[in-house]
Structures are given as C-alpha cells and as structure tokens.
C-alpha cells in the first residue's frame, strides 16, 4: 500500500540495539509502523526477530535507541507498563495460563483496563461486581467474535493447538492494544488453518483498528498480507520495503539461500 507512508506513525522505533556479552543480537533496528499498518518482520533463524519483539515489549531493555508509541516514550519501561501503553504480543511458543480456563485467560488480560482495588475485592463491593461483570462481558464478547465461546469454561491446556494459538491472539486483543505483535502465529498450523489465519489477521486489523507487526516463516502468508516487510539477518536490517521489493532484493536472497549461510524458507 503506498498510502501508508502518508498515514500517521503510531509506533516509532529508532535505531534500537542490544548485545548479550559480545554478541550483538540486534543493531540499529528502526521501524515506523503507521496506524492500521500490517508489517512483516522476517529473516533466517537466529536473525533476531524475537529479540526485536522482546525489546519492543520490554522483556529485554535496549542498550541504545528510542521507542515511542504515539509520541509517548517507551524506552526503559517495564513490560506491564508497555502493555498498558498499548502494545500487546503473542508468543512463538504458546504461553497461555494452562490451569486457568479459556474465559479466565481472556479476563486476566482484560483487567488491565478494568481495575478495582484489593479492598473492593475483599469486601465484594458494588464496584467489584460492576468491574467483574464488565470484564466478563468483554471477555465473552471477544470469545464470541472468534467463535470460542462454547469452550469458555474449558482449561486452556485442553484446547487444540490451533485454538491455543487463537486464544493467544484473543488474549492479546483483550488488553486493548493499538499495536499487536504476532510472533509466528502460523507455526504448527496446517495449510487450511494458515489460509484462515491470513484472513483473520486482516479482519483483526480492520475490526479492532490495531497496527500489526508479524514475525513469520511462512513466506506465502507474509507476502500475501503484509504491506511492508523488514528483513533481518544477524541482527542487522538488510532490507525494508514492499513484498515485491523484498523478494527481488539480492541481499535478502543471499541471506536466505546464498553462500554458506544456513537459510530456512
């Protein structure tokens, strides 16, 4: 989409970097994600994609650079503060709360914007009941949107793999994000499910008005739905552009296929 360059930049990441000991995991990573944008982040295994996510969500603290979300500084903030500011994520290896029910997984994420204090909880005040009711309504509504409502009371660990992936996305959406980071949402899904996922990622973007940044190894999916793609290799951004530009970039081709670098498609 060409119009995106004109749209308002929502998530503005400038030259962030982190090194673990001598290993420079990510260097000078920049990203300008506009409102409602759907960007992809790709690269061979070990390129630093998930590290970028961890930097954006505060799991790791960047050594250098700047991160801003609609003008507010996020650099150096703690993960829960970043989530509260509006960046939600899913995990590559699913991290649901296995012994909570599906509904509770979603409610847990929803309570970020629906707080009531300890005293209200202990005294079961009116405020407690309203807050819990709002939470429950909101969570069930989300589950209904994604067609998981009849599994609301099942343990999260009892869901099928595909449903667990879906629940991760629902849970992330329950925090009311403006930016959604999806870490390999298609991993482990069959072709049929992948197709549905591609459609639903677009739907999510439109319906919830979130900007999406997607890590994915499935090139078909990425090229199909992403407006712009950032390619990482050894922690360095080697290319940024539209799917077409990226596909024809010699450096990208080298990174994936070329001389002696173990690549994976």
């Amino acid at each position: 989409m060409n119009s995106t360059s004109a749209a308002k930049i929502l998530l503005d990441v400038n030259r962030i970097g982190i090194s673990f000991g001598g290993l420079k995991a990510v260097q000078e990573f920049s990203l300008h994600l506009p409102q409602g944008g759907l960007y992809g982040l790709i690269g061979p295994n070990g390129a630093g994609k998930t590290t970028v996510f961890n930097l954006l969500t505060g799991v790791y603290q960047a050594d250098t650079g700047a991160i801003q979300l609609s003008g507010g500084n996020l650099f150096g903030k703690k993960p829960h503060q970043i989530t509260a500011a509006g960046i939600a994520r899913t995990f590559q290896n699913i991290r649901l709360f296995p012994s909570l029910s599906v509904l509770d997984n979603v409610r847990l994420a929803g309570q970020l914007h629906n707080r009531h204090g300890l005293w209200h909880t202990v005294l079961r005040s009116r405020r407690y009941h309203t807050a819990e009711k709002n939470l429950c309504d909101k969570a069930s509504e989300l589950l209904e949107v994604f067609d998981l409502q009849d599994r609301a009371h099942e343990l999260a660990s009892n869901l099928s793999y595909g449903h667990q992936r879906k629940l991760e996305i629902i849970r992330a959406l329950a925090t009311d994000p403006s930016v959604l980071l999806l870490d390999e949402p298609a991993a482990g899904l069959n072709p049929q499910e992948k197709k549905l996922l591609a459609g639903s990622i677009r739907d999510i973007r439109d319906r919830f008005g979130v900007a999406v940044l997607l890590i994915e190894h499935d090139m078909g999916l990425v090229m199909d739905i992403c407006e712009r793609i950032v390619v990482l290799d050894h922690g360095i951004t080697i290319c940024e552009g539209t799917p077409k530009e990226v596909q024809n970039d010699p450096q990208v081709i080298t990174a994936y296929l070329g001389s002696g670098v173990p690549g994976e498609g």
Partner: protein, 374 residues
C-alpha cells in the same frame, strides 16, 4: 479455525457464583456473619459436649487452618515457595503477646484474664493480634522484596533464613518483667525487649478460645476465597503459571508477589497472636524454626496448590492425626516424609489439585455466560 476434537476437562471457575456461602450479601458481609455464628456455636457447645481435651484439638486445627490457608496465598496462588511461615507466625505471636502482657500490666496491674466472654480483656487481645498482624505484614513486605529477584530454591532459602533470624533474635531478648514492676521498669530492663529470651514468653494472658479462633478463621477463609476468585487472584495465579506471559498481559508481577507476601504475613501474624494466647502454650523462639514452617508447607502441598478447601482438609487432618497417634509421636516426621513422597509419586498436584471441593463433581458444561456474574 478448525473444529478440534471434543475434550473434557474440569475447570477452576474463578469468579463464578458457585460458593455455598453466597457472595452477594449485605456489603458482602454475610459469609463472615455466618462464620461468626458458627464460631459462637462451637464456643458454647463444643467444650461441654466433647470436653476440654478435644476442644483444644479443635482450637489447634483452627489455628493451623489460618496458617496453612494464608501460606497458600503465597505458595499456592502466586507460586512463590516460602518456607518461613512459622517465622511470620512467631513474630506476630510475640508482638501480640507483648502488647497484651504489658498493656494488661499497666491497665490492670495483673496479667490474668480480665473480663469474661467479649469483655475488655478479649478486646485488648483482639487489638493486639491485629497489631501483631500489621507488624508481621511489614516484615512480609521486607521478605517479599527479594522475591522480585529470586526464584524457586533461592527464594525458599531466603524465607528459611528469615525464620531462623527471627528465632535467633528472639533468643537474645530480655527477661519478662513482672506485672507489678512494669511501671517502675528501667531502660536496661526494657532494652532488649523483655519477652523472655530462649525460654519463651511465659505469663501471657490466655485469651484464645474457640470463638476467636473460628471467627478469625472464617475471615481468613473468606478473604482467601475472594482473592482467589477475583481479578486480583487471577493476576496472582498468572504469576505462578508464567511470569513472562503475565507481564505481557499487563500484570505487575512485582506488585503481585509483594502483595501476596504481605497478605499472607498479616494472617500468619494474627494466627501467631492466637497461638501465643492459647491456654497451655508458651510461645518460644523455637516456634519460628524450620520444623513448624515445614509443617505448614506440607499442609499446602498435600491440600493442593491454590485449593483452599484442600488445604483446610489437609491442615485439619495433619493437626488432629498426631494427637490421636500420640504413642507414635517420634515417628511423626517419618510418616510426614513418607506421606510427601507417596503424594509426589501418586498425586503431585495435591489432594484436590487446583480445584475446590465443591467444584469436584461439577461436569464442565457451558452455561450462558451472561449468567456468570450476577
């Protein structure tokens, strides 16, 4: 996405109105009022019908439940492994005993019981238990801080160390001042605090009875259940399940950890106050030791992490059983160890796992969600 195979599983229904004691009373006070009624009943009926010996066991059971259920907030809900709970209990007990003893001495110039049932002496006793709880909660905050950086075994060692520190400090305290001499006490008698040193705090007025124990137990249970079944409890459980994911969902894990330590410590302190004032008990520094802490850990492990009713059952059994097996008292620890090993092999999730006893027979069906929260 796909239609997955039908699986069944029981579910911990947090936040739903499945409690036998309904959640929606007069300002939500109903369950506590019922609890107090139950305590009054026990207090006036039990000693007459089963005699003082068994009443004493029932009292001990009540105190053990307060301690085990409060420990379960840290160990079961938030998943932080604390083995210093007896340290909190003993600290609270000493503070409460100190207040009762010396305030009685000053007010009434004696430390014998003052006033009858619900008389002025008993209110002083309640007040001092709460002071004990508050002081212990502050200690809980201090002990909770390392939990932000330490995990698993390392945190366990810190909490173990806390209990030992309390024990050693209490051993260094001064002699108890006679009630008549309190008003003319010199500074050298007051510092270090005159709470009896290694021999224990003798002469504490014996106010603890079934009524107070079961009233406070009811409050502890209601608070624990309400925590567990609310947003606050879900946040705590999420810390137990997966800290990274919890943070990503906006849970401030530092706050949840410290908060659970503070709440648990408060109730441990109040429970300690009850213990210190129990007839036939002389609270001593050794109560803060590892062994008693371990007793409570066993209760929570046997009951099931996070299951309040499971822990209540385990606490009741493990407190009453040694009394009925007095002849084999020396073998108690061997039996405990065996019991733990067998449980770990056969039922690692504890007696009830994460469930409550009233959820066990419930088949997982999907009621209309609108009815979930009234």
């Amino acid at each position: 996405m796909t239609q997955s195979a039908n699986r069944s599983g029981t579910v911990e229904r947090t936040g739903t109105a499945v409690l036998p004691w309904g959640a929606n009373g007069f300002f939500g006070m109903m369950p506590i009022i019922v609890g107090i009624g139950f305590a009054v009943l026990l207090h006036f009926v039990l000693p007459k019908s089963i005699g003082p010996y068994y009443s004493r066991i029932v009292t001990d059971v009540g105190i053990a439940i307060i301690l085990a259920v409060s420990l379960n907030i840290v160990n079961g809900l938030t998943g932080q492994f604390s083995i210093g709970h007896a340290g909190f209990m003993t600290l609270g007990g000493y503070v409460a005993a100190f207040v009762t003893y010396y305030v009685s001495s000053i007010l009434w110039e004696s430390t014998t019981r003052h006033g009858g049932f619900l008389g002025s002496g008993e209110w002083l006793f309640l007040f001092s238990c709460i002071i004990g709880g508050i002081v212990t909660a502050i200690a809980g905050y201090v002990v909770g801080l390392p939990s932000l950086r330490l995990r698993g075994d390392y945190l366990a060692i810190v909490t173990l160390g806390f209990g030992e520190i309390i024990r050693v400090i209490l051993q260094q305290t001064g002699k108890v001042i006679d009630p008549e001499a309190v008003k003319s006490a010199t500074w050298s008698q007051i510092i270090p605090p005159p709470v009896g040193g290694a021999v224990g705090f003798d002469g504490v007025p014996k106010y603890t009875n079934l009524f107070w124990v079961y009233t406070i137990m009811a409050i502890t249970l209601v608070v624990a259940y309400r925590l567990k079944s609310s947003s606050v409890g879900r946040a705590m459980i999420s810390v137990r399940e997966d800290e990274i994911a919890a943070q990503a969902m906006g849970v401030n894990i530092s706050r949840e950890k410290v908060r659970s330590f503070v709440i648990a410590a408060f109730f441990a302190g109040v429970g300690g106050g009850l213990y210190a004032h129990e007839p036939g008990v002389i609270i001593s520094p050794n109560d803060a030791g590892f062994q008693r802490s371990f007793d409570y850990v066993i209760m929570t492990v046997l009951g099931g992490r996070g299951s309040i009713s499971g822990v209540v059952i385990a606490a009741a059994i493990l407190t009453a059983l040694p009394e009925f097996l007095r002849d084999f008292a020396e073998y108690r620890l061997i039996v405990y160890a065996l019991l733990l090993i067998i449980m770990m092999l056969v039922r690692p999730q504890g007696l009830l796992g994460i469930h409550e006893i009233w959820n066990l027979r419930r088949k997982p069906k999907s009621p209309p969600i609108a009815e979930e929260v009234k």
